[in-house]
């Protein structure tokens, strides 16, 4: 009979994926999860948004959590989150960032994530990972299924600008005047103004400045 019985190992049941463009950050995160989140283990890592989206689309890993860095090369964190949420209604997504949380919080919430935490506090990070793996969400964020419904419906319902209108509004956002836009697109100034009237009507705005700000904000993904 063995007098001292060792404690049963905690089963690793939560499958986690990590996305960060910095390989060293990925390594640190993996070690953190191994050390501080006993129920979780890392299934795969990715250094680009496209790779992460592709792997989530395949959906053959049965993930319990995706940890996503906000500051990525090319497609930014909120945009990656938005695309993944559009096609997946179950996978919780936790955003992480080295910068101020306030700079990403609102956009990430709208993109359908379940939480956002700073990288600097490893204990808080570990707790957040554990919490989301357990099916909870952080305060101010929606559950995955609700976010999926909202984002899918928003794609169908949001006002659609024509290709020309989109061109004009993005050129306006770059600070170009009507005359410059007309020259760039090889159309007349009055045509530019007419398109802008159409844009204002679709976006329910009274001034071009408001329309540009709204559109750029909602399409900065």
């Amino acid at each position: 009979m063995n007098p001292t019985k060792s404690a049963a190992p905690i089963p690793k049941i939560h499958r986690v994926a990590l996305v960060d463009n910095d390989p060293r950050a990925l390594e640190s995160l993996s070690l953190l999860i191994e050390a501080k989140v006993p129920t979780a283990y890392v299934v795969w890592t990715a250094t680009s948004g496209d790779e992460a989206i592709e792997r989530c689309q395949r959906n053959d890993d049965n993930l319990n959590l995706l940890v996503l860095d906000m500051s990525m090369e090319g497609l930014q964190g909120p945009a990656i989150c938005h695309r993944i949420r559009l096609m997946d209604r179950h996978l919780p997504i936790l955003g992480i960032t080295s910068f101020s949380i306030n700079s990403y919080r609102s956009r990430l919430m709208e993109a359908g994530a379940q939480g956002l935490i700073g990288k600097e506090d490893s204990d808080q990070l570990a707790k957040a990972i554990e919490r989301l793996c357990g099916g909870n969400v952080m305060e101010g964020f929606e559950p995955p299924a609700l976010a999926n419904v909202r984002i899918r419906r928003e794609e169908e319902t949001s006002p659609r600008l024509t290709v020309r209108e989109e061109q004009i509004i993005f050129l306006c956002a770059d600070g170009m005047l009507d005359r410059e836009i007309a020259e760039r697109l090889d159309i007349s100034e009055s045509t530019v103004r007419k398109h802008m009237q159409g844009i204002l009507k679709k976006l329910n705005c009274k001034t071009a400045r408001q329309a540009v700000a709204l559109w750029v904000r909602s399409h900065a993904r």
């Binding site: 709208e110 929606e142 299924a145 609700l146 419904v149 419906r153 705005c205």
Partner: protein
């Protein structure tokens, strides 16, 4: 028995005309102002008769001055200023156009002091003093007592300023009285809402809880395939249990309907959307929805639901008109009522409200009751009404029921006013 003599029709016609003029044309219907204008015009005409001129240009000039005075009730500032300029420049430009227009000048001074501000009154006084000193000392042409003139001008200017100040004070007092009256009314409604809540909703919620537990117990006893083979522990066969289940479901529906209606009455008593008339930054609208969500969450938790709700402002809350705010708020309340009516007892329900500068979005999901199928899902009467309301404003309401999960998505566009502050940006990292 003496009969009341009937009023002659011309008198009642005059009274209604009088009231109409006072209400719709306050600038025109101002007896004192009109009297002063009439006196001034008569004075000018009298002076013209007393000291006639044979210069037709002077006569025309005087007629124009009279016309400007007559237009002053409609355009007090511009016509008063024009009269002053004409009366001062007339004698220099046109020989003979120096009719004594002192009453007119005093009237326009007083009008300008009343319609503008104290700084303008001071400037007019300074001008008057400078003018009298210039005429007396430099030109030596003044025939009147400059001190008396300056005294009259000062009095008239002070009178104008005093009347303006009095009007402002009276306006503030009236507003304060109105605000007090509204506050008293709101307090009274709040007390009534509280009393109804305390008296009724607690017992109704408890009754709903009991019926739902009975329904769950009876539902658990079925074989699930509708077969009538098994007897339950209470000795009833499956047919009797199904019959009892139907009755309990009906009772539950009545209780939930009563609860919803009582809450609607309570919310109507508590809500005051008139504050939204000046809600430029959308804060009042946002607060209104928050209050509705807090109340809805509380009620659903009392019924045993696990409700999670979020209100998120994406780039700025919309500045909604009272009617649009009412539609959005009523739809939110209907969404909560639908959860209470149709969601599985004790189940999880999620709700999010996103406020954008040009729209409101409501998204909701929950597990529907197992007794409802895709075809028989009701809750459509209230939502059908809101669907039409939203469509009439360019919005949309979509609901689905699939694999036992109910989803709702509502989109209501809201016009962005010109006075809205710049949209909140997002600092890039």
């Amino acid at each position: 028995m003496h009969a009341e003599p009937t009023k002659p029709r011309p008198v009642s016609a005059f009274r209604s005309w009088h009231n109409h003029m006072r209400a719709d044309h306050p600038k025109l219907w101002h007896p004192i102002r009109i009297t002063i204008v009439v006196i001034t015009v008569w004075w000018i005409l009298f002076c013209l008769v007393l000291v006639p001129t044979d210069n037709p240009a002077a006569i025309v000039w005087t007629i124009i001055e009279i016309a400007v005075l007559l237009l002053s009730p409609f355009f007090p500032k511009s016509m008063s200023l024009l009269f002053l300029i004409m009366s001062q420049s007339g004698p220099w430009l046109i020989p003979g156009a120096d009719v004594n227009s002192l009453p007119g000048i005093l009237y326009t001074f007083g009008m300008l002091a009343y319609e503008t501000n104290n700084l303008v009154a001071l400037l007019l006084l300074a001008y008057s003093i400078g003018d009298q000193l210039f005429r007396q000392l430099a030109l030596g042409t003044s025939r009147s007592n400059p001190v008396a003139i300056i005294a009259m001008v000062s009095l008239v200017l002070m009178l104008g300023c005093g009347l303006r100040w009095n009007q402002a004070v009276a306006g503030s007092r009236a507003e304060a009285e109105q605000a007090k009256a509204r506050l008293r009314e709101m307090e009274s409604r709040s007390h009534i809402a509280e009393a109804i809540h305390d008296a009724v909703t607690g017992d109704l919620s408890a009754a709903a809880f009991v019926t739902q537990r009975r329904i769950d117990a009876l539902s658990g006893g079925d074989d699930g395939d509708g077969s009538a083979s098994t007897d339950g522990d209470d000795g009833k066969n499956a047919d009797e249990r199904r019959d009892e289940l139907d009755k309990w479901t009906q009772v539950n529906d009545y209780i939930l309907s009563a609860l919803t209606n009582v809450h609607r009455v309570i919310d109507e008593l508590d809500m005051d959307v008139t504050v939204l008339e000046e809600d430029v930054d959308g804060k009042a609208f946002s607060d209104l929805l928050k209050a509705t969500m807090a109340g809805g969450d509380r009620r659903l938790r009392a019924l045993g639901f696990d409700i999670t709700s979020i209100l998120h402002v994406a780039g700025g809350a919309p500045s909604a008109s009272p009617s649009l705010a009412g539609i959005a708020n009523d739809l939110l309340r209907e969404t909560y009522a639908n959860i209470a009516r149709h969601a599985q007892s004790g189940s999880k329900a999620d709700l999010s409200v996103i406020l954008k500068p040009n729209a409101v979005e409501i998204t909701q999901i929950n597990q529907a009751r197992t007794t409802e199928t895709d075809r028989t899902q009701s809750g459509g009467h209230g939502l059908a009404y809101f669907s039409k309301q939203l469509e009439s404003h360019g919005g949309k309401l979509e609901t689905t029921l699939r694999d036992g999960e109910w989803t709702l998505f509502a989109y209501l566009p809201i016009p962005v006013p010109e006075t809205l502050p710049p949209l909140a940006g997002h600092p890039e990292s």
